[in-house]
Amino acid sequence: MPSKKVKHTVSSSIFDELAARNVRKSAKNYNIYFFTLMLSVCLFYSFNSVSTQFASLGLEDRLSYLAFSSSILTAFSLIVCCIMGALVVYANRFLLKRRKKEMGIYATLGMERSMLNKLLMKETLRIGVMSLAAGLVMGVFAAQVLSLITAKLAGLSLESYRFMISFKAIILSVVFFGVLFFFVHLFNVRELKKMSLLDMLYAERKNETNQEGKYLRKFMTAVLAAALILGGYAYIYIKADQALASALGVGGLMLIVGTIFFFSSALSVMVVIMKKNKFSYFKGINIFTTSQFASRIKSEGRSGAMISILLFLSLSLTILGPGLGKYVMNGIENATPYDGTIYYALGESETLYSNPMEALRNTGFEIEDVSESYESSWIYQTPAVTSSFLTGDKEEAPDRKQNMEDEPMDYPLAIIGVDDYNRIMALQGVEPVELENDNFAVVYAFPPIEEAVKAFAKNPRALILGERSLSLKENGIYHRALENKNVLVDQGTIIVPQELTEGLTPRNWVLNFNFSGDTKTGNELLYDKWYKANSDSFHLMSAEEVTVSITADNLLMTYLGLYLGITFLITSGAVLALQQLTHSSDNEERYGLLRKLGVSSKDMKRSLSKQLRVHFGMPMFVAIINSAVVIALVFRYFEGFPIRAMAIIIGAGALLVGIVYLVYFITTYLGSRRILKF
């Protein structure tokens, strides 16, 4: 035979064809894997195109707040990519193991390892290119939807919206996923190397050894699991106030160990219960269903716990991310009462300017250049009046102080003279406050302090300043902002008769102003002048900057939560779906036997659906409980956060996770039915 002497110059066409067909076959049986790959590319593109979205929405980003947010997202893409990489490698190894026999056939036909590796590389390349292309197309459209959400979060109109494609994100996706698929190939080669030919050809799918007879131990494990999980919750709740880090560390560890114990015992306990109930055990094909559970007791323990932890991360992040985002926005309507505020804060080393206005002028910045309407004011403080005066939580304070020594909770309160107050309020067009000589009033800007202030109004205390004792003016609580601020928290400010301020320590000085002309040119002029001046001791907070920085924070929290949350979600969904699908194809024979025994497909469908419901349901159930505890714990610290907003965020997050999970469940059910042919 002449070909025996021929050096290896195989035309690769038949191998190309073979690779194509192999991919098509895998795609048919494991479409969920390709769907997940596509989804991850789509996710990756969408969240990396955020900066292009800002541009397309015409969002001004003079101080690079948004750029910062979007580069954080890109940085986190590295983590996302690692998670995706782990998923893809896992899934690929999984699929490769199922192709052992096929690999064995190639080897008996005399394919060398290098040829086999090349064939696998062709397949990986094909899968990679296909999922990358499809994912990018999907991503381009998903990014448009994301821009609409961005616009809504940033409170922008859609006037300047245009269809956008981010080439930076495309290049990033191609590079990241290119590297990922390269690693997948390396893993494939390694995996293949580990298989011997005998393994490939004759390795039958091994059944798990049944672990009957150890039920007492399993029950003990179950009890221990419950004790650990409940103990973990209790520990976190009780200790969280004193030492958050150690509470989360120890409590979290208890939760994780408890979860693992739970999954290593749950199926056994369930099987025992199902067997004990003789009436239902012998009904229909429940015997079969029970044995199906019993046969997977071992593997379920490990993977169930892992999936449950992933789902827990997913649920918590999808809810806490937008929750935090919304929380930093809470009270935004009071964040920018003026077009701009210039601060002069008194640090310890800085000299006190008796006339900050003059000092500001000396830096080279003339406020008259940008504004005709401006007002300045000193704000004072005294050690005698601290935040506990308003909040009244003296008894809690020392307890916290012990553990947060660097950060005492009892700050001196800000105090402002009534005339100063009225002057800067006039700039907002607010009516002046009249204050009697022995009265004081309280003004606050942001929701976190609201409840405390309202409680104070119901039960006011006298304010002692030196010799004078002041009482709260009737209805003397105002919800107003004194300045532009980008952290929406305040302790409340006390308004006192003007002459009393002379005995107090100056705390800081604010200069509030509104532009004379329109905002856009006003801002341009302002920043131009500001950067030319040598104004190191002063800080500028323009309305534009406040809005952009808060929006950037909001977007970052929301998107980061969603990005990571969805990543964990599709990871757990895909792992679970692949496991169940392969389990189904392992069980083809068992179901075939049932059919021969005359079991109707209706009964088999019911049994399958019951098995899948348990395998999908259990990790989700545990994840929901765990994340509910953590979310409640975090939301407890969101003071002044409206319940309605909380409910919407929890509802939306849960809905999103629920729907995607359901899609994985349904696809798995339908896929299993196709594999089992009923």
């Binding site: 035979m1 025996k4 073979l18 008996t108 036909l109 005399g110 390892r113 030919l197």
Partner: protein, 255 residues
């Protein structure tokens, strides 16, 4: 002329939890070109292990195997792959066709792996299909074929590269008697017309009666050897049955 296959003092031991199982215990024999040899034995007698060692799927513990005067026990993996595709053809009990490829492409793959030029491939396939009378099913996919049809495609795949030795592991094991008959006819045809050397492992006396020579294996050792010679197949079959009943001793259902 050198024998196609020469097995010398072959041993294969398995260690399982301290106990050593001698699956193949010092077996030696030769197969000449053009032979059609059967290996018979009860399940667990070591016949499949012997075949796996010869077919380079498994490694022998000791002893040597020469195929076409080359010691396969000393070949490295890369050389083994080349050796397999050039010198061996495989026929398995469960066919082992690739279900992503139709009959034609399954055969073509073996040629392509062997580096046959693409323009020669269709001609070689048509020829082997005509010889084995499988032209009609060439374009079907494995799942559209009966077991017998799949096995005959597998035969075509095994012989199309003109290997020195064709190894068949229970080729009729998964077939009904009619398909088995057709397959055995194909194998005989390959042996007689195409001068293929065939080594077949089976525990079925009827299947074995198509061979020209039969080795009986018991507990990893060669127990007996019979040659068909000029005997009719019926007579040969009776002779096989006699050896079997002798082999099984008082256990009537040894096979």
């Amino acid at each position: 002329m050198n024998p196609v296959l020469k097995v010398e003092n072959l041993q294969k031991y398995y260690k399982t939890k301290g106990a050593v199982t001698k699956a193949v215990d010092n077996i030696s024999f030769e197969v000449q070109r053009g032979e059609y040899i059967g290996i018979m034995g009860a399940s667990g007698s070591g016949k499949t292990t012997l075949l796996n060692c010869i077919s380079t799927i498994d490694h022998a513990t000791a002893g040597r195997i020469f195929i076409n005067s080359r010691d396969v026990t000393s070949l490295n993996e890369k050389k083994l792959a080349r050796f397999r595709r050039e010198e061996l053809g495989f026929i398995f009990q469960n066919f082992n066709l690739l279900d992503t490829l139709n009959g034609r492409d399954n055969i073509a793959l073996a040629l392509a792996i062997n580096g046959v030029e693409v323009r020669n491939i269709p001609r070689l396939i048509e020829q082997v299909a005509a010889d084995l009378e499988i032209s009609a099913i060439l374009d079907k996919y494995p799942y559209e074929m009966s077991g017998g049809q799949q096995q005959r495609i597998a035969c075509a795949r095994a012989i199309v590269t003109k290997p020195s030795l064709i190894l068949a592991d229970e080729p009729t094991g998964a077939l009904d008697s009619k398909s088995a008959g057709m397959l055995l006819d194909s194998l005989s045809l390959m042996n007689e017309k195409k001068e293929a050397t065939i080594l077949m492992v089976t525990h079925d006396a009827f299947t074995a009666s198509h061979c020209k020579r039969i080795l009986f294996i018991k507990d990893g050792k060669i127990f007996n050897e019979i040659v068909r010679g000029a005997k009719s197949r019926k007579l040969f079959f009776d002779e096989i049955m006699q050896v079997i009943s002798f082999l099984g001793g008082d256990k009537g259902h040894a096979f």
